[in-house]
Amino acid sequence: MSSDVPEAGDVADAEDVADTVDATDATVDEPEANDSAVEEAAKHVPSGAPPLRVEGLVKRFGGVTAVDGASFEVESGSLTGLIGPNGAGKSTTFNCITGVHEPTAGRVYFEGEDVTGLRPHEIARKGLVRTFQIARELSEMTVLENLMLAPQGQLGESAIRAVTPGLRGAVVAEETELRERAWETLEFFEIDHLAHEPAGNLSGGQRKLLEMARALMTDPEMVLLDEPLAGVNPTLQEKLLDRIHDLRADGYTFLLVEHDMDVIMSNCERVIVMYQGSVLAEGTGDEIRNDERVIEAYLGEDL
């Protein structure tokens, strides 16, 4: 764990880079004005509202009700766990929060702002990003390219700026900074030796690390992790959890869906239990462990 200190510094560097990017942004008058809002958010200015609030969320597919009136809040800077037996509606809830599905009813608030029904990229731009249960690496792109894709509002995302002589200089300058930031993030997750590997060649666990690294490259306020430890070997699991704790210490907020109860109980300060589409219980690990309803819901499952 000797590497912890420089890594914390790296994240600070990353923000500096973001600031520089922001400054360049302003001078060239990029139309995407919400970039600066995202960069502001990345500075973790504490706001009154909880980062994430879900109210009476309902999602039906045809006749099947996957989520049935779920309501909960995630506190700023917390590592909150979301558990529940199979089919409790955890993944659907995730998909509704991140805009993959439009909720049938109910509202989702991020930093006090109603984000219900926004498209995934709009929600991501507000600083709420996710990882996927089954890692979705961009397999024909290298690990480094995967990471460099993520930062928001890049100058070179404008086709004109990418092509036009004179304007491309700024793009190249920004790319140089992004490349450095990507390398730092890769080092933080200790996958820098894989930088040039096409992401499709990575092992399952490495893909999970890549996903989390990529999500962080967007400079998020809050990260939703969908079973980040599933299919990951114990050594890598340890590493992943360490990283999550480091980042939380830096002010990031996490909502963690995990099937493994032990992981949730020993890592999350707050736990939300979903059962049959709604929230069954909320509390600390100990409270949940002793909750009669939770035990009943999990009867027959491996508690």
Partner: protein, 457 residues
């Protein structure tokens, strides 16, 4: 064979891992815009293109040298022209399909819109033959044609936003057929004449405006009245010099113009690919939901890609068919044209700009023009009468007579060969003849960690 397929995919992935380190590693390119582009057009790629052209020229020489220099240079001119126009179109398609995964099989329609719009804008309002035009200058026509193709591209992008790849294929094919049938329609022709004063000529098509390159060599494009430049060129290479006919020499002049456009297309698309925009395109190809979840406006990028790609297709259509004297909707803009371009992209390996250029050149020479030339040569060597039909040829039970029939009717066999090549590539080499090339999607060199970043000890 199916067992061989999946490990094949893995193996190519393994090859690709080495690829970025290979050609790019030897030169530590400076990180300026121009240097990145120069780096992109690395010697090895340029060498590959020139080497391929030389090989094709050698084969062309072998095939025609008995007929004299004029035939050799003429065949080279044809092959180079076709190679470049296919390369131009393949590059445009590669942006949509190779980079972004948008399966657009309406290429012929976008090319038709480009060249027809150009013709209608530039043609004289009171022509001796064919439909009237607006009589505007040629550059206006070229811009208008490119713009109209871009506009249709924006319309075609709407289905691309919500449809799966195979549905999109059917929609774009339908769109290109609607374009062709509209241009074919005499009712549409008279409607346009009545409303905007310029017509399409319906099924008979229209003559194209004079090629300015021809005017460089001949005063007002009139044969037998050369300009100063024409005098010089014709004197050295023409009938009084090396004996090459004037149309072939003018053709080479036009090829020079096409080559400039080809370099332009290549540079624009390389820059687009090697940028954050290029990364987003690749990400959309690989997994739309990931791109979306990382804050990329997938729909906007798709529309942009459709508009840019279709504009380039329109421009390629103008450069190609605009120089052919006359355009007509059928058979020039049949879906077959689209499939030719697809085969060119597939040969080169989709996703690679250099591959598209090579694919265009190889397709034009080896698959498009080659078989009929070889067939013609072989037919000339056979001393037998050609039977009037396949059944008659079979009925003679004489292999020589049958060969005479086959070489005389080489055109359908050429398409059969094309189909076989397509199936073969998809089966055995889905990554194209160049192999799996992973083109870096960044504006800076990613192959090495720049110095000064080593903090992890």
């Amino acid at each position: 064979m199916s067992a061989a397929d999946s490990p094949d995919g893995d193996a190519s992935g393994g090859d690709a891992a080495d690829a970025p380190g290979g050609p790019e590693g030897d030169a530590d390119a400076p990180e300026s815009a121009t240097a990145a582009v120069v780096e992109a057009a690395r010697e090895s790629d340029l060498g590959l293109v020139i080497g391929t052209l030389l090989a094709i020229y050698a084969a062309a020489t072998l095939l025609t040298f008995t007929n004299g220099l004029n035939s050799v240079v003429g065949l080279m001119e044809t092959l180079t022209f076709l190679g470049i126009v296919y390369a131009l179109t393949a590059l445009a398609l590669n942006l949509q399909w190779g980079y972004t995964g948008l399966f657009n099989i309406g290429v012929a329609g976008f090319m038709a819109v480009g060249v027809y719009t150009m013709g209608m804008v530039v043609r004289s309002p009171d022509p001796a033959f064919g439909p009237p035009g607006l009589g505007l200058p040629l550059p206006v026509g070229i811009v208008a044609g490119t713009g109209m193709a871009a506009l249709l591209g924006a319309v075609a992008a709407l289905p691309a936003l919500r449809l799966k790849a195979d549905y999109l294929a059917i929609v774009t094919l339908g769109l290109s057929e609607i374009v062709r049938l509209s241009l074919q329609s005499s009712a549409f022709d008279s409607f346009l004449r009545d409303t905007i004063g310029a017509g399409t000529g319906g099924g008979r098509g229209m003559g194209m405006p004079d090629n300015p390159v021809r005017d460089l060599f001949l005063v007002d494009g009139q044969a037998g009245d050369p300009t100063a430049l024409g005098d010089l060129v014709f004197g050295v290479f023409g009938p009084d010099g090396l004996g090459i006919s004037q149309p072939i020499l003018i053709g080479w002049g036009y090829i020079a113009v096409l080559a400039v456009f080809l370099v332009g297309f290549y540079l624009v698309l390389e820059r687009l690919g090697r940028s954050p925009f290029g990364r987003t395109m690749k990400a959309i190809r690989e997994d739309e939901l990931v791109a979306d979840s990382l804050g990329k406006d997938v729909n906007l990028v798709k529309i942009k890609v459709f508009v840019i790609g279709c504009a380039l297709m329109g421009l390629a259509g103008i450069l190609w068919f605009g120089s052919q004297g006359n355009v007509s909707p059928t058979p020039q803009f049949r879906p077959l044209l689209t499939f030719y371009v697809f085969i060119a992209v597939i040969i080169g390996g989709s996703g690679s700009n250099t591959g598209s250029v090579l694919g265009g050149i190889v397709f034009a020479a080896v698959l498009f023009e080659g078989p009929r030339r070889v067939g013609g040569t072989v037919r000339g060597l056979i001393d037998a009468e050609t039977p009037p039909s396949f059944a008659d040829a079979v009925a003679t039970l004489d292999p020589v007579t049958f060969l005479a029939y086959a070489t005389e009717n080489i055109a359908p066999l050429q398409f059969v060969f094309l189909g076989l090549v397509l199936v073969f590539i998809i089966h055995r080499r889905p990554e194209g003849i160049l192999g799996d090339r992973i083109e870096t999607a960044a504006a800076v060199d990613l192959s090495e960690r720049p110095a000064g970043g080593e903090t992890d000890e």
